[in-house]
């Protein structure tokens, strides 16, 4: 049910305003299809804004966001939602909503206005619950779940949406380390086994280095550096982006870099 065709999402000279302030300017971004791309950068660098622009929640002030070479503003809301799913930051559900009822909402873009619930809807929901190991909790209300389980329920909703592209805004924030590892492994599995295109905003540089295929370092609304972890998690790039001096070490087994922050080197203008 989860489609294997990969969507290609890119931006051409996109600028995004938030109120009177320009957050993102002249952004040309190609997201690698079938890969996990992580957006990194200091607070206020435009990570979430870019993700929201890709998700069509934030209109571009100029330029275009293209999905499979078609401007996203020219698609119907439902057509877009069949191809791109988003887990927004701090999403809330009504008190007492059961897991199954939340996950079923993921089928919204697949259902006609007055249409009933079909077998493919049931199959998609069952598969999303299985992928997130929530079958046993499906009848629980969300607030009875732990933070990690609740986050999995929201992910399950976006998986039931069955989109080739998935956008995640800080999915691991507020989760303890065990839940973070579970969630990142799940995301990795979706990319590896289903060739889904996933774009995630993460705060943890080491988590990003460990799981991502491609890292995009942002600063002040612009792409500062882009590439695999070994090119981005370097003392130079991180000092430039965050104003922090780091020691970079490498995992002796797989060679992936990780960093240990030492001290701030320049006062940050915009925290």
């Amino acid at each position: 049910m989860i489609k294997s065709d990969t969507g290609i999402i890119e931006t051409k000279a996109v600028a995004v305003d938030y109120g009177p302030t320009r957050i993102v300017e002249d952004l040309d971004l190609q997201i690698a299809p079938g890969k996990l791309t992580v957006l990194l950068g200091p607070n206020g660098s435009g990570k979430s804004t870019i993700l929201r622009a890709l998700a069509r929640l934030q209109p571009a002030a100029s330029g275009t966001v293209l999905l499979d070479a078609q401007a996203i503003t020219r698609m119907s809301t439902k057509e877009f939602a069949r191809r791109v799913g988003l887990l927004a930051q701090g999403a809330t559900a009504p008190e007492g909503l059961r897991v199954i009822d939340l996950v079923r909402q993921g089928r919204y873009p697949h259902r006609p206005l007055f249409g009933g619930w079909g077998a493919d809807d049931d199959a998609a929901v069952a598969e999303a619950l299985a992928l997130t190991s929530l079958q046993d909790l499906q009848d629980r209300p969300l607030e009875a779940l732990s933070g990690g389980q609740r986050q999995r329920a929201w992910i399950a909703m976006t998986l039931a949406q069955a989109t080739p592209i998935l956008l995640l805004d800080e999915p691991t924030t507020y989760l303890d380390i065990a839940h973070q590892v579970d969630l990142m492994n799940l995301i990795r599995r979706l990319v590896d086994t289903r060739a889904m295109t996933v774009v995630a905003v993460l705060h943890d540089l080491n988590q990003a280095a460990r799981y991502a295929d491609e890292l995009i370092m942002l600063k002040a609304g612009k792409i500062m550096a882009k590439g695999p972890a070994c090119d981005i998690i370097t003392p130079e790039v991180i000092a430039r982006a965050f104003g922090v001096e780091v020691k970079v070490l490498h995992d002796p087994e797989d060679g992936l870099p990780f960093c240990l922050p030492q001290r701030t080197v320049t006062p940050q203008a915009d925290a």
Binding site: T77, E79, P94, Y108, F114, P141
Partner: protein, 332 residues
């Protein structure tokens, strides 16, 4: 799905309960009419006294209670879903006050009469007040928060309530016409009025039931609903129209009755959970039953006619306080 069958059974039982209440209500009043006589009088056509009491006095009043209760409960359910605010209610958010202000204004200044004309003023007032509350509640940097929305609603409701009262104080004739009505009363509804207004409420109710799946997506908030592909401006506008149609026709029929829209969705949610598509039909039946009971019970127990707006406030106000305290406890 077994859940569907359970729901169908529940709705069937509630409908049967409502019907029982309705038949019982026919026997309650100043003159004693037994169940058998009331049932007989309902269907006969001989112009006897009992028949007039049952057919022209009691039945329209009971039907009005059903229509008003169902409409307000549905309006409250939709408002709670759309605003993400468990305290939303057409009374608390000023929609009822707007509708009754416009109706009183139309009677006092325009000399408008007849339910079929006044209902349009009720719609206009309900829509105007809803828009005003939404604008006030969304003002400021933090956007719309549940507390700001309620504050805006209370401010608009008391302001419009005060304006309504000042018109009535100045204009004694209008006051006499609408005195009972502004307290929220079903007394003296005739069948003609009920039949004139029921279609407006009915169309809005059918619309709400048919479109009930949309409220679940709306309830997840604009970001999630938007990323699920819901056309937000369209569905917010449709929801607002439904609320205005439901609350406006309820106010035109019975005046501003509060708390049904607040209490009923919560009662239903406690028993079946937070799926708005399931809540809505249950809320209609429970709202109808609660309003019917609140209108009839004082006459059955005290042999006194208490305006239903007042008896419902007696139930609803403590409930609101309990709810507000619980909300605060959940937040801290």
């Amino acid at each position: 799905m077994t859940g569907n069958r359970q729901d169908a059974l529940g709705l069937l039982l509630l409908s049967a309960g409502l019907l029982t209440l309705l038949v019982w209500g026919l026997t309650v009043g100043t003159s004693d009419i037994s169940l058998a006589d009331a049932w007989h009088a309902l269907w006969s056509d001989t112009d006897q006294r009992e028949e007039i009491v049952v057919q022209d006095v009691r039945l329209p009043r009971l039907l009005a209670a059903i229509v008003v209760g169902a409409a307000l409960a549905a309006a409250g359910t939709i408002m709670q879903a759309v605003t993400g605010n468990p305290m939303a209610d057409p009374g608390l958010l000023g929609v009822n006050a707007g509708a009754s202000f416009a109706v009183v204004l139309a009677i006092a200044l325009g000399g408008v009469s007849g339910a079929q004309n006044l209902v349009w003023f009720a719609f206009l007032g309900a829509g105007g007040a809803a828009a005003l509350v939404y604008l006030l509640g969304g003002a400021g940097r933090s956007g719309t928060t549940p507390v700001k929305l309620i504050l805006a609603g209370v401010v608009v409701a008391s302001f419009l309530g005060a304006l309504t009262m000042s018109i009535l104080v100045v204009d004694m004739q209008t006051f006499d016409e609408v005195r009972l009505w502004t307290a929220g009363s079903l007394k003296g509804r005739d069948m003609q009025g009920v039949l004139l207004l029921a279609p407006y409420a009915g169309v809005s109710l059918i619309g709400a039931i048919v479109l009930r799946q949309q409220f679940n997506a709306l309830a997840l908030g604009s970001d999630t609903a938007g990323s699920l592909g819901q056309n937000q401006p369209l569905w917010l506008a449709i929801s607002a129209l439904l609320v205005v149609g439901l609350a406006g026709s309820a106010v035109a029929l019975a005046g501003p009755i509060g708390f049904v829209g607040l209490v009923v969705p919560h009662l239903v949610r406690m028993s079946i959970g937070s799926n708005y598509a399931r809540i809505l039909p249950f809320a209609c039946l429970v709202g109808a039953g609660l309003t019917l009971l609140a209108d009839t019970l004082p006459r059955a127990i005290f042999a006194r006619d208490v305006p239903v707006g007042i008896s419902l406030a007696a139930i609803g106000a403590p409930f609101f306080i309990w709810l507000a305290r619980r909300e605060r406890a959940a937040r801290t």
